[in-house]
Symmetry: C2
Subunit: 171 residues, 2 copies
């Protein structure tokens, strides 16, 4: 079994990917003195990201290579290519709920990474994505966007898709 | 290990759930003679549904009980309850891509159910959801909607969420 196909329960991170035509994510909730702030992307890839408790920073590089390299983005001629080759925008959404395990009628999150470590891994993941997109000629010449949600907050999200083409990858 | 927490690779069905404030799904693509047709729901639950190759109709009843019963829908007072108790709308989205397994830079779908059997299981799932919602006083009195995508077609989807609260359940 390759390290990209570990069964749930033995994995260190869980990622759901969807393609989108556009997406908008709240990065700062409204307060008494300010309106909510949002980030937006155009055609590209949504990455819902959850680290589990045995995750270490060692897996981040492989995760980013896999996610940005897997051919799950539909080009204009209907063929599937990587988000780097499309090229397209990327929106990273922290989603700790993906680590949930059902027990009775409740979800439990005992398998999730601790919050502080999760924050570090999340930041490392974003940094690695930024590096990969910047060093990719198609993305950097096309001025493709990398946007991301704020860790630990509610991810107020709207998406428009031409088919979400939802995939799950365990790491 | 309970039957609700089988590891990926040993499961018969894979479901991703998201909450939404509203959602719209294409159920008939445009043609030369007609415009595209869509279904819409308000506040409720999105169910992305994928049956794997050993799935039989026996699992449908348990799946529907679990999915409609698990407390993943946020009520107005911020507590989480089942979609039946909320009560809220339901949108079922066939999503065979969820059965994908990564190999190199490609996704493979050898673990997915055959198309004809998948269609039967999908129809059974919808029927069971309809029965459960109709026989639930809160849903039927509140005229809550059950909508669903057409099996085997592109699921052109738009969603608005107040936080998707994405969960994965394997059956």
């Amino acid at each position: 079994m390759s390290s990209n196909s570990q069964p749930v329960g033995l994995s260190n991170a869980r990622v759901v990917m969807q393609q989108c035509l556009s997406a908008r994510l709240q990065v700062k909730p409204p307060s008494d003195t300010s309106e909510a702030e949002y980030v937006e992307i155009g055609k590209g890839l949504l990455i819902y990201l959850c680290f589990l408790k045995d995750a270490t920073v060692d897996i981040v590089d492989r995760m980013v290579k896999t996610i940005l390299g897997v051919k799950l983005s539909e080009s204009d001629d209907g063929k599937y290519t990587s988000i780097l080759d499309l090229p397209g925008d990327v929106l990273i959404i922290p989603q700790a709920t993906l680590g949930g395990k059902i027990k009775g009628k409740q979800m439990q999150y005992h398998g999730n990474v601790a919050k502080q470590k999760g924050q570090e891994l999340y930041s490392a993941f974003i940094e690695q994505c930024e590096l990969s997109m910047k060093s990719n000629a198609k993305c950097s010449e096309g001025s493709k966007l990398l946007k991301f949600g704020t860790y630990g907050n509610r991810q107020v999200l709207s998406i428009v898709t031409n088919g979400p083409y939802t995939h799950l990858i365990e790491f």
